[in-house]
């Protein structure tokens, strides 16, 4: 089969591939949160999508705080100082939401040894609660007398509508691959995501605490007998997932520039898919799954039309799981056995 003909021209093929990589990098960062928590607790943190969503709002809030509410279009260089602050703020906000989730939605159940299914229901409930809490933000603002100050950049009358970053970042073309203009924004997203993942991988592999995390993932009872504080490990796992989701949120806002109270849902589902595809519980699997998913769904959209993008993603997932039931790389953090 001639791929070039399928995609119309090779130019489009390259552009869909690079575009897919950029989104794939963001999926991969979010996927790390699912995969880490699953590795340690064998639990799907359904509310992780909301951890990401809060991060995107933190980015927009920082821009409002440091720039104001007038709509402008800046180059990456000009936005960079505020962007760095937003990056840190989003990581902090997402990490705090993740820690809150652990404390409120999971720890009480884990301590009672509740079945995983109950924890999943609790997670779904927490996900709705967090999402609706964000939907109510204007009412909260009203209680503090802030609504008129915020009204400029909240779309008129509709609290739940799209919430745009007042500063939109204008990508600047650096070079071209097969007709696709690779921008500075694309490069920053891919490089930042890879660096974050590399740092995390090294942390888990090389440090004492990282070894403790792997021990809990492989045998929680033995880990306790070695003197690992498993409550602390679970906390740090959520914390790391939150930090990564906050980073992903910043990169997402650089690329997309707007968010909404349910923005986490579809990205969360995609990232979860990426995690399963790569082998849930496996950090490197999350990277591979994320990048692959980003590229494949873009190709799928190119071949079948963009309305089929998400369908392609899931068909791909099912096909991969049929051939490799534990995902592309298996469960390394968790139950890796030869």
């Amino acid at each position: 089969m001639d791929l070039g003909a399928l995609f119309g021209s090779f130019d489009n093929f390259a552009s869909f591939t690079v575009g897919g990589l950029v989104f794939g990098a963001i999926y991969a960062l979010i996927a790390l949160g699912y995969t880490m928590v699953y590795g340690v607790l064998q639990l799907i943190n359904f509310a992780h999508s909301e951890v990401f969503m809060f991060g995107t709002f933190a980015v927009a809030w920082i821009f409002v705080l440091l720039h104001g509410t007038s709509d402008v279009s800046w180059s990456l260089g000009k936005a960079l100082p505020i962007l760095l602050v937003a990056f840190v703020a989003a990581m902090i906000v997402s990490a705090l939401v993740a820690l809150l989730l652990e404390r409120v939605a999971y720890r009480p159940l884990i301590q009672k040894n509740a079945p995983k299914l109950i924890a999943l229901i609790s997670a779904i409930g927490a996900s709705f609660a967090l999402s609706e809490a964000m939907g109510l933000r204007d009412r909260f603002a009203g209680w503090f007398g802030l609504d008129h100050k915020l009204s400029n950049y909240v779309s008129p009358g509709a609290a739940r509508d799209v919430y745009s970053n007042p500063v939109s970042i204008q990508p600047h073309k650096l070079f071209e691959i097969g007709g696709y203009a690779v921008s500075d924004v694309d490069i920053v997203i891919i490089v930042a995501a890879l660096l974050m993942m590399f740092a995390l991988d090294q942390f888990v592999r090389r440090t004492r605490f990282g070894r403790g995390i792997r021990a809990v993932a492989q045998d929680p009872e033995s880990a306790s007998l070695m003197g690992v504080n498993s409550t602390r490990v679970v906390q740090v796992t959520f914390l790391i997932g939150g930090l990564m989701a906050g980073a992903a949120a910043t990169l997402y806002m650089m690329k997309i520039g707007s968010t909404r109270q349910n923005a986490g849902f579809i990205l969360g589902v995609k990232a979860f898919t990426a995690a399963v595809m790569g082998g849930i519980g496996n950090l490197r699997g999350a990277l591979l799954g994320g990048l692959l998913l980003g590229i494949m769904e873009n190709w799928g959209a190119a071949v079948f039309g963009s309305e089929w993008r998400d369908v392609v993603a899931f068909v791909l997932l099912v096909l991969i799981l049929l051939v490799r039931p534990s995902g592309l790389l298996g469960e390394a953090l968790g139950k890796a056995r030869a």
């Binding site: 004492r208 021990a215 492989q218 045998d219 306790s224 007998l225 003197g227 690992v228």
Partner: protein
């Protein structure tokens, strides 16, 4: 007494796994618990390590009441365990497993730490040949050695060994018991659970027989080993 258990009761739901268990472990000795399957031996060790909540009674270790301390605090105090079924970390190498044993130690870059590693490799030469092998790919006997070596890496005051000879060939069993003697000779107190009652009792300073969650007999290991009714019930008749 280095370790003292007083009136310990532990439940699984409504099932009483152990009832009113009391015994002590003198420093520098080997103390053994024997008993039929399901008697409550593993439960007793897990409770001493803090993995099971106590319904009644108390545990005193090194003069401190540890009944409600989390497991990691007990490890820090010098209480270490090689659990039933070994519990090696399958996705870690032999060396990483040994390092996990020393998780609570802060001196992992010192010569003292290297000495402790060497000591474990002396006891179990097989481990030194396999430092980079994944624990999950090792044979059952090798994993048992790893689990014991790992428990020693914490430099414990007392080490709890839950059926270290389980599933091993007779020659290897004899080796494991020789190593237990060696561990005690090097100054570590041992609390041992064993199905190989004859071998275990022979070298125990004191021993306790559990039956359906209670201690029904206690005494020096040699006395129990020589007792006719104990022989009939637990030693298959010949010691």
């Amino acid at each position: 007494m280095l370790l003292e258990v007083e009136g310990l009761c532990v439940n699984y739901g409504h099932i009483e796994a152990i009832r009113d268990i009391s015994f002590g472990v003198e420093e520098g000795t080997i103390t053994t618990l024997i008993g039929a399957n399901g008697a409550g031996k593993t439960t007793t060790l897990k409770t001493i390590s803090g993995l099971r909540p106590v319904r009644a009674g108390r545990i005193v270790f090194d003069g401190t009441d540890i009944t409600h301390l989390p497991p990691y605090e007990r490890v820090k105090m010098g209480l270490s365990q090689s659990p039933e079924g070994r519990g090696c970390f399958p996705g870690m190498t032999v060396r990483e497993n040994l390092d996990m044993g020393a998780f609570v130690r802060k001196d992992t870059r010192t010569p003292a730490y290297q000495q402790d590693l060497d000591r474990v490799f002396d006891l179990f030469p097989r481990l030194s040949e396999r430092v980079n092998q994944m624990a999950g790919t090792m044979s059952g006997g090798e994993q048992q050695m790893l689990a014991m070596g790992r428990a020693l890496m914490a430099r414990p005051k007392v080490v709890l060994l839950d059926e270290p000879s389980m599933g091993l060939a007779p020659k290897l069993i004899a080796q494991i018991f020789a190593i237990i003697d060696e561990i005690r000779a090097q100054g570590t107190t041992v609390l041992l659970v064993e199905q190989n009652a004859a071998q275990a009792l022979k070298r125990s300073d004191s021993a306790h027989i559990l039956e359906t969650g209670r201690i029904i007999r206690s005494g020096p290991g040699r006395d129990l080993a020589g007792d006719a009714s104990v022989k009939a019930a637990y030693l298959g008749g010949d010691v």
